[in-house]
């Protein structure tokens, strides 16, 4: 038996998903930014910054999307409460997403 209110959990998930979109959008913007020139150390440092933080934002967006899916799937009863955490966290994000769709 789910110890949750499905509609409300789903609502929370949706809102978290929206935040994830924001993070993904920021990461996309970052990936399109270009360093001004490629000669001196500033350029190398700026390129490293954009790459590392772009990856971090993408991962953040993925995590938020997975939480969104976890909430939605759990609320819909696709995943039992006692399985929800393992579903959500035991596999890489991409696999989790596939599991959710399959479930």
């Amino acid at each position: 038996m789910l110890a949750m209110d499905p509609d409300r959990v789903r609502g929370v998930g949706g809102r978290i998903g929206e935040v994830g979109q924001l993070a993904r959008s920021a990461a996309d913007t970052l990936s399109h930014l270009e360093v001004p020139h490629a000669r001196v150390t500033v350029d190398q440092a700026a390129a490293a910054f954009l790459r590392v933080w772009g990856d971090a934002l993408l991962a953040l967006a993925t995590e938020l999307r997975v939480l969104d899916e976890l909430c939605s799937c759990s609320a819909a009863g696709v995943v039992r409460d006692d399985e929800a955490a393992r579903f959500s966290y035991a596999a890489p994000a991409s696999a989790r997403t596939r599991t959710a769709v399959a479930g």
């Binding site: 110890a3 949750m4 209110d5 409300r8 959990v9 609502g11 929370v12 809102r15 978290i16 929206e18 935040v19 924001l22 993070a23 959008s25 920021a26 913007t29 970052l30 930014l33 270009e34 360093v35 001004p36 020139h37 000669r39 001196v40 150390t41 500033v42 350029d43 190398q44 440092a45 700026a46 490293a48 910054f49 590392v52 933080w53 990856d55 971090a56 934002l57 991962a59 953040l60 993925t62 995590e63 938020l64 997975v66 939480l67 976890l70 909430c71 759990s74 409460d81 006692d82 929800a84 955490a85 393992r86 959500s88 966290y89 035991a90 890489p92 994000a93």
Partner: protein, 654 residues
């Protein structure tokens, strides 16, 4: 020295560095992203109470909430690096633009000065009047060009250009350094939430990874001594450590032998989870979220009714408190404790090294370190006394925080950590005469200090400061649980006795130069000397050093002051830069031997007790004499009673 030009250049001197317009575009884009990202954390945070309300029970609901909290933390952490990067690039763009303006000026100067200087140089030594006139004109042209440009020669312009190149190069390096710093910060901020501790924990447990880690370390079960725990911990990778913490946050977050930083991380997450529960409770009843513990004292009666704490019959005292109301009161108490802990952490530079809110029948067990005890050279634990509890954590915490600041000032060469140790079940006024809670607390104190020794690795200077009943806890830990092996010095302030059977410092397992005793002459605790909880360490035959603790506020009018109650709580006073805090800082920084040089050693009282009725009676006109209770004056001769208190003691000028 001259770099090749980045863009087509019209002048003699090429421009230096990137196009500032492009750099500014990048800076603006990052600043815009920072502003967008600012919305991330608060947006996630707003969902925590909702999620908790919607999914209120079960381990998995807890895990989901905890992971959202961690995600929120990470989302908050991504904002500052973007700000730093944007600011650094903006500054660099300014420097580049200034550089370009300067290059234009130098090129203009070169154009003005170079031909006339070259012309002058081309002239032969004049031998005719015409040649002299021409030379004179050429020299005049050079002087005019020099006056117009501010440069005497082309060589001066060359030098100015080289300075400019150096300046832009430095600006470039500074900008790159800032960018590299915030890029490296990504690994310091932590792994991305997708690899959160809870993720790793479940994964590890599912694979039986903990057993593998234990076997690899040559252990069959999880170790139970702090030293073994520390040794096992050192064999784990970062991911494995996070996984173990995640497998049982309540246990491992409080386990001696695990480094304080790791415990802090998992304990803060648990604290945030607890507070999220309280927040959800308030949100569900339409009550504004409190900003801190103090806001809970301002709940209106109507809000209390809505929370189920009160109803009209209870308010009118026509019916006893219902079980549901008692339950609501306990819930509010827990929320209050959590907020008190959060308020104390907000003092800054703090680590939540122990967080067990359910301990001691819900009164809680908490230890907060200011500074990092795992790397500090000087570590001090402040053991509070009577009536202390987690709900009053801000008081214990502010005492420790003041000592942290003063002892750090006393020894800038060695990092300091001071721990507000609310780690035992302190007694109330009703149970203070019993040593039972001190005996239980002594076990915990000795274990926690052993844990600090185990995780530090080197040989820190450890001091325990026991206040009031906390001095009894400390005394028993020294006598019965080997605390003396792990500490370098002990300070007992406002002591009500060291407990047990100790008669001298030797019975505590300490040398004479390791024990410091501070009891103010007007402290009400003097009235209980040697009557409550074992030997009073202030006695002349106990040993150790008595240090000065008189407060300049000691004779302030008011009942609490006159009875010595306030003086029992002034040992950590920062106001007026007290004798006591200054002396404690000397001791906590490992410089107890400096007390005499700092004129902070006090003489002991003469413990030949004066019969109480020998105290000068007060004789109001027309009434029989009134014999005042101790300490008016104390029932013995204390030289500190008559000595004027001093103030203004600081290890560093403010």
């Amino acid at each position: 020295m001259r770099p090749p030009p980045d863009v087509a250049e019209q002048g003699h001197y090429p421009v230096v560095g990137e196009d500032p317009t492009l750099v500014r575009v990048l800076s603006s884009a990052l600043a815009d992203l920072r502003d967008e990202l600012r919305a991330l954390g608060p947006a996630v945070a707003r969902e925590v109470p909702s999620l908790r309300t919607a999914w209120p029970q079960g381990r998995d609901g807890d895990l989901a909430v905890l992971d959202v909290i961690r995600t929120r933390t990470f989302a908050d952490a991504v904002v500052p690096p973007f700000g730093v990067a944007a600011d650094a690039l903006s500054q660099y763009a300014d420097d580049l633009a200034a550089g370009r303006r300067a290059v234009r000026v130098l090129n203009g100067a070169f154009v003005a000065l170079s031909p006339v200087a070259a012309h002058l140089a081309s002239l032969a030594v004049p031998t005719t009047t015409a040649q002299m006139v021409e030379r004179d004109r050429a020299e005049t042209d050079v002087r005019l060009a020099a006056a117009a440009t501010g440069f005497v020669s082309v060589g001066d312009i060359d030098v100015a250009y080289e300075v400019l190149v150096a300046r832009v190069t430095i600006a470039s390096e500074e900008c790159a350094e800032a960018l590299r710093g915030v890029t490296a910060a990504q690994s310091v901020v932590g792994s991305v939430p997708g690899a959160s501790v809870f993720a790793g924990g479940l994964h590890l447990l599912a694979d039986g990874g903990l057993g593998t880690s234990l076997r690899r370390a040559g252990l069959s079960t999880f170790p139970d001594s702090p030293l073994l725990v520390a040794a096992f911990w050192a064999t784990l990778t970062g991911v494995e450590r996070q996984a173990v913490l995640a497998s049982d946050p309540a246990r491992f977050g409080n386990l001696d032998g695990i480094p304080v930083r790791d415990r802090d991380s998992v304990n803060r997450t648990r604290l945030e989870g607890e507070i999220a529960d309280g927040d959800a409770w308030f949100v569900a009843h339409g009550i504004p979220l409190p900003h801190g513990q103090a806001d809970l004292d301002r709940l209106t009666p109507w809000q209390r009714v809505r929370l189920g704490l009160l109803d009209l019959p209870t308010l009118l005292l026509v019916r006893p408190v219902l079980p549901t109301q008692a339950q609501a009161a306990r819930r509010l108490g827990r929320y209050r404790e959590d907020l008190a802990v959060r308020d104390t952490l907000a003092f800054g530079d703090a680590h939540l090294m122990t967080f067990d809110p359910g301990a001691f029948q819900g009164e809680g067990r908490v230890a907060i370190a200011f500074g990092d005890p795992d790397s500090a050279d000087n570590i001090t634990l402040c053991v509070p006394g009577l009536e202390s509890r987690v709900a009053k954590m801000t008081q214990v915490g502010s005492d420790a925080r003041r000592l942290y600041e003063e002892s750090a000032a006393a020894d800038r060469a060695h990092p300091t950590a001071v721990i507000a140790w609310q780690g035992y079940d302190a007694p109330s006024f009703l149970t203070v005469a019993s040593s039972a809670q001190a005996e239980a607390g002594a076990v915990l104190l000795a274990s926690d200090v052993r844990g600090l020794v185990a995780t530090h690795g080197n040989d820190p200077t450890i001091t325990v400061v026991g206040h009031s009943y906390g001095s009894t806890v400390t005394g028993l830990a020294l006598q019965q649980h080997g605390l003396a092996q792990d500490v370098d010095s002990v300070a007992l302030i406002g002591s009500c006795g060291v407990g047990g059977s100790a008669r001298t410092v030797v019975d505590l397992g300490l040398r004479d130069d390791q024990l410091f005793v501070g009891t103010a002459s007007r402290d009400v605790i003097n009235a209980t000397s040697n009557t409550l909880l074992g030997k009073d360490p202030l006695d002349p035959d106990f040993g150790g050093t008595r240090f000065r603790t008189e407060s300049v506020e000691r004779d302030r009018p008011g009942l609490a002051d006159v009875t010595g109650i306030t003086d029992h709580s002034r040992y950590y006073d920062q106001a007026n830069h007290s004798e006591s805090l200054y002396s404690l800082a000397d001791i906590a920084s490992g410089h107890g031997d400096q007390l005499r040089a700092h004129d902070m050693v006090a003489d002991r009282p003469n413990r030949v007790r004066v019969p109480l009725y020998d105290a000068p009676p007060v004789s109001p006109p027309g009434l029989p004499p009134i014999v005042l209770p101790a300490p008016f004056p104390p029932p013995y001769v204390d030289p500190e009673y008559a000595r004027p208190a001093t103030s203004g003691h600081l290890h560093e000028e403010p």
